[in-house]
């Protein structure tokens, strides 16, 4: 099965997801939350693994070329630099317009914080702790 391309940072390697390799261990969620919040809590993770039957799906920012989230934000709270989405927390009022605009279900709000993957600035922790290769970095 061909891997789905989920992430395409401009000048970076891309993150690919191979659902048939995903076992649903949720280590990616845990790695994400400790990296960004200093605690384990899957609900704070910017990547979510959802199981339906024996198939896992992930919800994470797709890093689209045309950034519908940025386009949707009326307050200019989202910006893109080198493929990464940055959130200006002072400007963001958690209105949810970006969530509605996101085609991959990759944006969520938890605990009054907008959660969007920032690819850990090029060295994503979710990939690092994925031992099955379901999440992997690939040269563009």
């Amino acid at each position: 099965m061909e891997a789905d391309v989920l992430t395409a940072g401009k000048d970076k390697d891309i993150r690919v997801f191979s659902p048939e390799k995903c076992t649903g261990c949720r280590n990616c969620e845990l790695a994400c939350s400790i990296a960004h919040f200093g605690a384990f809590n899957p609900r704070r993770a910017r990547i979510q693994v959802l199981r339906e039957g024996c198939r896992e799906e992930i919800r994470v920012c797709n890093h689209c070329e045309d950034h519908p989230c940025i386009v949707a934000c009326k307050r200019g709270a989202l910006t893109c630099d080198d493929g990464e989405i940055f959130v200006d927390e002072a400007a963001c009022n958690l209105c949810g317009d970006c969530i509605a605009a996101c085609p991959s279900g990759g944006i969520r709000i938890f605990d009054e914080t907008l959660l969007i993957c920032d690819l850990c600035h090029g060295d994503p922790m979710c990939v690092k702790f994925c031992t099955t290769g379901a999440l992997a970095l690939k040269a563009r």
Partner: protein
């Protein structure tokens, strides 16, 4: 995290307390907690199915973190099947959620007036009416609760077996992970408690992030480099079906044989090539030994996780069934009804052998898959022959003269799949295990994994420990596994990552704990904690009326040699190992912990004559 939730179902009240410091320092969590709770709160007069019995559930101090394979929990109670320590352990995703909600443990007493379930939504805890769930299987129960509260809850539930107080009814986590043994589901049913649903949204911080994550990575590397890792990650526990057949110990026709004629039909490779769809993992586990399978059509159409090796044997070769599809269906039914597959399959196998030997009038044929499936339904509903089967092997045997020798139980708990004539360390472990006929207390896989004599000397000081067919050199190895196993069950790390692979060792667990909790742990401290847990469980059982005479095995394993295969003619000389084991434990020659031993371990002797 760190809170203990007390629930009184009779009064309809709940309260929260801090976990006592002493429990954490001396008993760690998980199984250590549940056994300590039983020792402190349950006396010899407590009827297991009465409101006075305690049902306690505990997570471990690493649950919810990235620590490898650390998403497990233990359930404890006085067992309705054995009358002794009831204890069952499960993976899945329930325990991490419980900790995210803020709780390390739950202690449940009393009996609700009608069916209820417990809903834990972070701080908010309530008992809710469950008449609409009662009578449903585990799968429907979980679906109904998810419909009510959202897909992000995690559920443990009983099926019809627990409701009907079948003494080997289990508690299922998420419909595929079982807290399987000793009838914990019947105790839950006796309390009119159908399910526990939890949503936890809190954080679990660790003391030293960087060190903790580096240690996790190191454990992952070690695991993936271990030769056993490949087999388990690919085939799951089903690889053991092949290992058992090769060693002549694939329990067949209630253990009369160790080689199964239809082995090829139930081997891991056939499963892999026919019904398996994917490998799946419990929380935070990189071993992913769970298999997901589908039988797409025909009379055995089904889709579920599993079965595990234990089920493949006890509902397969042990009852003579060589239809893989039928075993998958049986596994699904047992999971839905909430039945322990080991006890159910072994009870059916016992009945079949009674029939074979003419000890009962009815005729039951080995390999009759339809009969086996029908029995599971009838056991769970205590209907017809199910009423008799639901009593378990020990009670059934008491009514059939001449059947004791092949009643496969120890202390009332039906024996697992592995034929202990082909592993003498396992034989000793199952004879002395604190929850009766159980392989997971000791699980001395070391003797089965083709280790070299040099490795035997290096690990346990004797080359004999690597030869499964000999009694010599087993005691030290078994004691180490029991002590470390109690640590794993209390930290709630899966034993398949600690000693099916021998990758994550006591020092690794000590480091993980130290970096998570922020205080030093040594390997020696941990193994002493394991020894303490083994001893407090022994004391609980002695209080409940167990005698060291109960440290035994069915006569089949002591006196009947297997008729063919690599283990042909081998029997277990338990009398040779037991005195050495008691001495190695620092117990009296009658198998009772001495006052000095208890004092050294910080256990207060109570309730034992």
């Amino acid at each position: 995290m760190d809170k203990l939730l007390w629930v009184d179902l009779g009064r309809g009240s709940t309260r929260k307390t801090r976990i006592p410091e002493e429990w954490k320092s001396l008993y760690l969590g998980g199984r250590g907690f549940t056994s300590k709770v039983l020792y402190d709160l349950v006396d010899a007069g407590t009827d297991p199915l009465s409101p006075e019995n305690v049902l306690t559930i505990a997570a471990g101090p690493l649950d919810g973190t990235l620590s490898p394979s650390s998403g497990r929990f233990t359930v404890g109670c006085r067992s309705p099947l054995t009358g002794l320590l009831g204890d069952a352990n499960s993976g899945g995703h329930f325990a991490p959620e419980l900790r995210y909600a803020g709780y390390d443990g739950i202690i449940i007493r009393g009996r609700a007036r009608g069916p209820v379930y417990l809903f834990i939504d972070d701080d908010h805890v309530e008992m809710r009416e469950a008449s609409h769930l009662w009578g449903h299987g585990v799968f429907d129960t979980i679906s109904l609760l998810e419909h009510e509260h959202g897909k992000d809850i995690k559920v443990i539930a009983i099926g019809q077996a627990g409701e009907h107080l079948v003494p080997y009814g289990n508690i299922m986590a998420a419909g595929h992970s079982a807290a399987g043994r000793t009838g914990v589901g019947a105790v839950m049913g006796s309390k009119n408690l159908k399910a526990i649903a939890v949503r936890g949204t809190g954080d679990i911080p660790v003391a030293y992030d960087e060190k903790f994550l580096a240690k996790v990575r190191e454990c992952h590397r070690k695991l993936m480099a271990d030769p056993t890792y490949q087999d388990f990650s690919e085939y799951g526990t089903l690889i053991l079906v092949d290992i058992a057949q090769a060693s002549g110990g694939l329990s067949t026709k209630n253990g009369q044989l160790g080689l199964f004629d239809d082995y090829e039909k139930i081997s891991s490779h056939v499963y892999q090539g026919t019904y398996k769809l994917a490998s799946k993992a419990c929380f935070s586990c990189i071993l992913h030994c769970k298999n997901y399978a589908r039988v797409a059509e025909g009379p055995y159409e089904c889709e579920n996780m599993g079965p595990e090796y234990e089920t493949m044997v006890t509902l397969g070769s042990r009852v003579g069934v060589g239809s893989l599809a039928a075993i998958l269906k049986a596994n699904q039914l047992a999971n839905d009804y909430g039945l322990d597959t080991i006890s159910a399959g072994t009870s059916i196998a016992f009945l079949m052998e009674c029939s074979q030997r003419g000890l009962i009038d009815e005729k039951y044929e080995w390999g009759d898959a339809e009969f086996v499936l029908d029995c599971l339904h009838k056991i769970a509903h205590r209907d017809g022959i199910g009423e008799f089967l639901a009593r378990g092997v020990r009670a059934m045997s008491a009514e059939i003269p001449g059947s004791e020798g092949f009643a496969l139980h120890v202390k009332g708990l039906e024996l697992p799949a592995f034929d202990v004539r082909t592993g003498k360390g396992f034989a000793l472990g199952e004879a002395v295990a604190s929850r009766g006929g159980d392989h997971l207390r000791a699980l001395p896989n070391f003797e089965l994994l083709s280790k070299t004599r040099e490795e035997g000397i290096r690990w346990f000081g004797t080359p004999d420990c690597v030869n499964p067919y000999t009694e010599s050199g087993k005691v030290g190895m078994v004691i180490w596994h029991e002590n470390y196993g109690a640590v794993c069950d209390s930290a709630e790390i899966c034993k398949y990552c600690t000693f099916a692979t021998y990758a994550v060792m006591p020092q690794d667990v000590a480091d993980l704990l130290a970096f998570a909790v922020g205080r030093p742990y040594s390997q020696a401290d941990l193994l002493a904690t394991g020894e303490r847990i083994v001893n407090i469980e022994r004391m609980f059982n002695l209080r409940c009326g167990m005698t060291p005479r109960d440290d035994s095995l069915p006569r089949r394993f002591l006196q009947e040699g297997l008729p063919e295969g690599p283990a042909r003619g081998v029997t277990v000389d338990l009398a040779r190992m037991l005195p050495e084991y008691y001495a190695g434990r620092g117990w009296t020659k009658d198998g009772v912990p001495t006052r000095g031993k208890l004092e050294a371990l910080g256990i207060e002797a109570k309730g034992v004559a």
